[in-house]
């Protein structure tokens, strides 16, 4: 069996993996908060979020805070399942590497 079996292509990128992990730990996180936490440009972050959204791993909600538009993201059930599977695969890789 290949040690990389079970890896999810959408979660292989570390920014996307971090987004999924943060959303698994917290209910909803805004775009601007992700930008602060990941130190990514708007374009790069938007692309990573769109990829996860296209795979239905995350869902978004638009709202207004002090008249400013805020986009909130949350992990979907599909995303949570994919993250669990990906983390299991990561653990397997570490276990194989440690012998």
């Amino acid at each position: 069996m290949n040690a990389l079996d079970g890896f999810d292509a959408a979660l292989e990128h570390r920014a996307r993996l971090t987004i999924a992990v943060l959303l698994a730990r917290h209910g909803e996180i805004s775009f601007s908060r992700f930008k602060e936490l990941l130190e990514l440009t708007d374009g790069n972050l938007g692309a990573q979020l769109r990829r996860l959204e296209d795979d239905a791993y995350i869902a978004l909600r638009r709202a207004f805070v002090d008249r400013k538009p805020v986009t909130w993201y949350r992990l979907t059930a599909t995303g949570r399942k994919a993250l669990d599977k990906h983390l299991r695969a990561l653990r397997n890789v570490i276990a194989v590497a440690q012998g």
Partner: protein
Amino acid sequence: MPAIEQVREDLDYVANAVRREEADRGPPAVYVLWAVIVAIGFALPDFAPRHAGWYWLIVGPAGGIASWLLGRRQGIIDGVHDAALARRYAYDWLVAGAAFILVFVPAMAGAIQPTAAAVNVLLVGGVAYALAGVHLERPLLWSGLLMFGGYVALSLLALPYVWTATGIIVAASLAIAAVVRPRAPSPQG
């Protein structure tokens, strides 16, 4: 780069982002608010004992509601909606609040001197804040430890205004939680 090296770097990146998110937890305004409430409320039994009961009856719950609103607003400003964490905070401080009230039962029953209850507030506060520091927000650990120090000092020293001294120690401990914020690591490590 070997896969394992890549995995390790990616996991470091994830861990740093998670730590960074946790480092910003807790609005300092809540601790400043309670430092002021406690400093005034604990001075009252020494200087205006008739007003102490009413003060805590009104300001105590009002402070709780204000803390909830400040926490909620901070969450929106920070860009994090975490209902599970909000519930953990609520249960933690509800239990701590109940323990603070129970401290006064022996004094009301005449089993101990009221001033002894004031000192015991520091012990209960020390436990409540130190554990909140372990489980919720790290700066509260220092508040708790300071309250433990205050408990030992007031137990050994016979000070004239015990309530006021207790209030000052609690207020100073809370002010520390507002000032000491953990350093957030960058996502790069």
